[in-house]
Subunit: 316 residues, 2 copies
DNA sequence: TCAAAAGTGTTATCCTTACACCCATGT
DNA sequence: ACATGGGTGTAAGGATAACACTTTTGA
């Protein structure tokens, strides 16, 4: 069953996320183009994929990972092949990891970057991102028109409508991967030209590109985190031991990319027993001092699916 | 980066599911113990993992797969190693695939089997499964008592309560994997003895065991399907072109393992625009003839997350 | 006539969302 | 004084879960 022709090598890539100053930062390795930290899986040294990941991430970034979750395994040919035919095929396993902010990363050539640099259409916190109306909608319209069959054109329009909340449809912040894949197929990201799917002289290049398929992995990571947050208390992996409720809200907003209703947000997290007051007050910046809260670990025992519900605010 | 020590071989395993006669059947290969269909990934012949899977599943089972979804990649050492130190390490990628029932499978040594044979505690359709009170609760209590620290004992009891809905907590049909893993760690399934985690003479052996980690993959598949069904119209991949609303309900019940409220179920699927009447009537078996419905493909264009909500019935 | 299943109508309850308002602090 | 953020109360609306009841067939 395991002859030579079945032999591959496994690469592990991690989207390591921290929230600082209301920005959802991801750890980026500058090696030519931006990349996620990645490394090979060594089956001799490591019992599981995850322990392999933790080890080399620790060595490479000097970070202790807290929460780690496997995302997806990609096996596309041609992804890592700079010189085709050389060496074994690389299958890559993508991971999401959460840490608390640590200031500047200690490893050389690594930096924290807001993920909205790679996905500018995903940040709806101040307003509907201008890039949607200015570049995405017209380009997707052209993509629709370029279809060689009416049914295909209609399918493309439907995808665009659902993905980007056009024609009055609601914006679904979890559809990060669907949006990226639509833009990729439509030839609107640099990666699709690089992979030979669109002519290299194509005009539209949305967002900052990344190495290999790392932007796809990052899109998967964002989508997973945005969804999981709602039914698992993973946000607290990104928070310090104590925090004000507004700080918590800003973190949830940074990740989800949408603004939330303040009063209802507070009520939800308190009523659900997700947090408890510490009695201490925050060293405030502006306004009335706020109480510091901490995560109530006990919810994990009490509620079957504790998480931060979004309580969306009406779009202005 | 890809020296010899990083070389592994990739195995693909598929939980292929069909619902017939109100049973959630999974395709089983009889090779000693029960196994899921599995085969090696050939990186030379196939561009993606999924195309590799479709090919050998077609060759091996003569089935055309419709819906296919990747579940998880497992890299645990010792899983496939019958003779340690021989051959490269196998990393296995698990898949969920849905098909319509086809009668007896055409491939030799393959059969359809209800997945509740492997997870008898998951079928709450007629009543709370007796095995929970008779075997699981006492065995988990013993597991709790055997803990060498009070904190560990408490953690074990909390897990048991949440997983199996004890002390009045609700049964969450989606926690299939959590339940299996708890039983595995507690040494209550044959696999944990086989993997050397419990003495081989341990008395309790819940459910039918499977080869390798296939029961874990199947648990992941069931959990994923039970969850996904609620926000994506995947049930219809398991239905014939036209069906009565009760047949649809019975299929959802077979998968979720819980009974649903009839009137509300009908209303939900109709109001959500998931189905439309065909005008034709069913060749009935008993009672008043029912209208035949078909899946409304258009919902995919209209609603952002169409799926069959469960509308649970009060537990009797 | 009864059992079994198809269907329809209505109500009570809870959760979500929105709105209105007051409180405490720094500039 | 006022801007900023903290914090509480409550009501409207929608979705859900439950109940009651009628209809149509086969045995």
């Amino acid at each position: 069953m395991t002859s030579d022709r079945h032999v591959v090598s496994i690469g592990l890539s991690a989207a390591i996320v921290a929230v600082a100053d209301e920005n959802p930062d991801v750890l980026i390795v500058k090696s030519g183009s931006d990349a996620l930290p990645f490394g090979p899986f060594d089956p001799i040294a490591h019992r599981t994929l995850e322990s392999g990941l933790r080890t080399w991430v620790g060595e490479q970034t000097y970070l202790e990972l807290g929460y780690v979750e496997q995302l997806y395994t990609f096996g596309d040919r041609g992804r890592h092949t700079f010189k085709p035919g050389e060496g074994p095929r690389v299958v890559s396993v993508g991971y999401l990891a959460l840490t608390r902010p640590t200031g500047e990363p200690k490893a050389p050539d690594t930096i924290w970057r807001s993920w909205y640099r790679y996905f500018p259409w995903e940040d709806w916190r101040t307003a509907r991102p201008a890039v949607i109306a200015d570049a995405i909608v017209p380009a997707l319209q052209a993509f629709e028109t370029a279809a060689d069959a009416p049914a295909l054109a209609e399918a493309r329009r439907d995808r665009a409508r659902l993905c980007f909340g056009l024609d009055g449809l609601a914006w679904d912040e979890e559809k990060v991967l669907e949006r990226y894949e639509l833009l990729y197929e439509a030839g609107l990201v640099a990666e699709s030209a690089r992979d030979g799917r669109t002519p290299a002289d194509h005009a539209v290049r949305l967002g900052e590109p990344m190495m290999f398929d790392h932007r796809r992995i990052l899109a998967t990571a964002i989508a997973r985190l945005r969804g999981k947050m709602k039914y698992r208390p993973v946000v607290f992996e990104l928070m310090p031991a104590s925090f004000t409720l507004l700080e918590l809200q800003r973190t949830v907003e940074a990740i989800s990319g949408v603004r939330l209703h303040k009063q209802n947000f507070r009520r939800l997290v308190e009523d659900q027993g997700l947090v408890e007051g510490t009695g201490k007050m925050s060293a405030l910046t502006r306004g009335r001092p706020a109480e510091l809260f901490r995560f109530r670990r006990e919810v994990l025992r009490e509620r079957p699916a504790p998480g931060v519900r979004l309580a969306p605010r009406r779009v202005v």
